[in-house]
């Protein structure tokens, strides 16, 4: 069976800043992959590459056996047309650190926007599903609230529901709890935990070591644009092999 995410020797540079220096990793279907590492280690860039929000300079990055954002012709890779890139992205949900909800739309409006406009789902069907998703993230009854009227934790849960509304086969989380007040972190992690239990394949960039240990199937430690260490969360956290991993863990645990 093909892996849900597969990275082979992925390189990415912003000008002279070589952010990703040959990333190799694989996420199987239904797995939760947690990526940790110091800031500037390239973990968020890698996550954004998986959705082609960033282009890659070399290597191959595949989601569900399909190259992300590129088409292979002979030996060379060509960037896809915007329409095909959009089609790929529609299958991958993304949750941002700063939520990025649409402030001029209600919670329900945020959720049904893409299903209605991109998937052309009839409005009543989209609304029905949207309400169910709001209930799933514990926000039944808040469908008419605007983002500004919700707490950070509630906004992030709406953002998760919005991503789920496209019925993605993979969910990307970019430090989903980093912008939240400490007392609001739990409610978002609880929703993510339920999502993992339901069998969703998840790629989570996070600082929440507790979550990684409890929910993650794989833990990857990145530093300086490479995967320094990977394995089961228990192994990596309790028995780190590399000095850099030990140094990082001693700071965050």
């Amino acid at each position: 069976m093909t892996a849900m995410v597969k990275a082979e020797a992925v390189h990415k540079a912003f000008g002279f800043n070589h952010v990703l220096r040959g990333i190799e990793l694989e996420v199987q279907r239904g797995e939760v992959m947690c990526v940790v590492g110091p800031s500037g280690s390239g973990k968020s860039t890698l996550l954004r590459c998986i959705n082609h929000l960033e282009t890659i300079d070399s290597g191959r990055l595949m989601v569900d056996g399909e190259l992300v954002g590129y088409r292979e012709r002979g030996e060379r890779l060509y960037e896809m047309k915007p329409r095909d890139i959009a089609r790929q992205r529609a299958n991958v949900g993304m949750v941002f650190q700063h939520f990025n909800l649409f402030p001029h739309m209600t919670a329900l409006g945020n959720i049904i926007e893409a299903p209605c406009r991109v998937k052309r789902l009839p409005r009543d069907q989209a609304e029905e599903r949207g309400l169910a998703l709001l209930a799933q993230v514990g926000l039944a009854g808040r469908e008419n609230s605007y983002p500004r009227q919700l707490s950070g934790g509630q906004q992030q849960r709406v953002a998760i529901a919005r991503a789920l509304a496209m019925e993605p086969k993979l969910m990307l989380f970019d430090e989903p709890t980093s912008a939240l007040d400490p007392e609001l972190v739990g409610e978002v992690l609880a929703v993510m935990r339920d999502l993992a239990k339901s069998g969703m394949t998840m790629f989570v960039v996070t600082h929440e070591m507790g979550f990684a240990r409890e929910v993650g199937d794989q833990l990857v430690f990145m530093d300086g644009g490479i995967v320094v260490e990977s394995g089961t969360p228990r192994d990596v956290i309790e028995n780190p092999q590399h000095e850099r991993t030990r140094a990082f863990l001693s700071k965050v645990l």
Partner: protein
């Protein structure tokens, strides 16, 4: 006395105001009766309607053109963004009155306008002078000039929308034009609408330049009366009263449009109503009052 300068200023202003009011009452040259006689006559009312038509049509061209120019200006395609830059440079860099006369005299350059293939056979041909009346020339000139100004306003509005919004839309599989229409522009509106209201008010007054090419708008109709009666300033005052009335109505309309596009921008759904805002403006706009409560000013 705590504020001698303020008091002295207030006294000077009060005296000047009293003198002005006195002149209104005493000076027969104001011809208040004549003004009243003409203010609701057919030509003036027609002029008001024409002024409104000019304003609305020119603003429609300005807004639509401005959005198109702004999107072109932000396009990754260098020909589109370069053309947009050039347009804005030319139309903002020349006087609108000159542009009005140029459109009026377009037949000098192009006596005929036709639809057909570029450099190839023409299908339909019109005489330029019959196609572009002086009203059309004024609308085109005012509208296309306005588009250059609106383009900058729209561009600033689009750039003010957080990049995360476009990324979130992209991540949901929304394309560039859908993202623009559904996510970016509605949010940019909050920044675009207030200056657009100002532009509309400005356009209402600038449209009087159309009198230069004999469009029968409000100012031109006033001048027609002046040329018959030789009563200059009183008729111009009457015309100004009409302009003031129209700009005042537009200002009120602007408030409600702004409130509509402010949706979701405030934590609480309801904002202050107009009377409340006016009261607050009167109450709190005096400097120091809200900055240093209780402090000796």
């Amino acid at each position: 006395m705590r504020h001698p300068g303020r008091w002295a200023g207030a006294v000077v202003v009060a005296v000047l105001a009293a003198m002005l009011v006195n002149s209104f009452v005493q000076n027969p040259q104001y011809h208040w009766r004549t003004q009243w006689h003409y203010i609701f006559t057919r030509p003036i009312l027609d002029g008001v309607v024409t002024t409104l038509e000019l304003t609305v049509l020119a603003m429609v061209i300005g807004v639509v053109g401005g959005i198109a120019l702004a999107i072109a200006r932000l396009s990754p395609n260098p020909i589109l963004s370069g053309a947009s830059w050039l347009y804005i440079w030319v139309f903002r860099g020349t006087p609108v009155l000159v542009q009005i006369v140029m459109w009026f005299d377009l037949s000098y350059l192009f006596p005929h306008i036709s639809i057909g293939l570029p450099f190839g056979p023409q299908l339909v041909t019109w005489n330029t002078n019959s196609l572009i009346s002086n009203f059309t020339a004024a609308v085109l000139a005012l509208g296309l000039n306005e588009a250059a100004y609106m383009a900058e306003i729209v561009r600033a509005g689009i750039l003010s929308v957080d990049e995360g919004q476009t990324e979130a839309a992209s991540a949901l599989g929304m394309g560039r034009s859908l993202t623009m229409r559904r996510v970016v522009l509605p949010q940019a509106m909050r920044f675009i609408v207030p200056p657009t209201g100002n532009e509309t008010i400005s356009m209402l007054k600038t449209s009087s330049l159309a009198a230069f090419i004999s469009v029968s708008e409000l100012f031109q109709q006033g001048q027609n009366i002046i040329s018959r009666t030789y009563i200059t300033i009183p008729i111009l005052i009457m015309v100004s009263i009409w302009y003031l009335a129209m700009t005042s109505v537009l200002t009120i309309g602007q408030f409600y449009v702004e409130r509509h596009y402010g949706r979701g921008a405030y934590r609480f759904a309801k904002r202050a109503t107009l009377p409340e805002r006016i009261w607050r403006a009167i109450r709190y706009n005096r400097p120091h009052d809200h900055l240093a409560p209780g402090g000796g000013g």
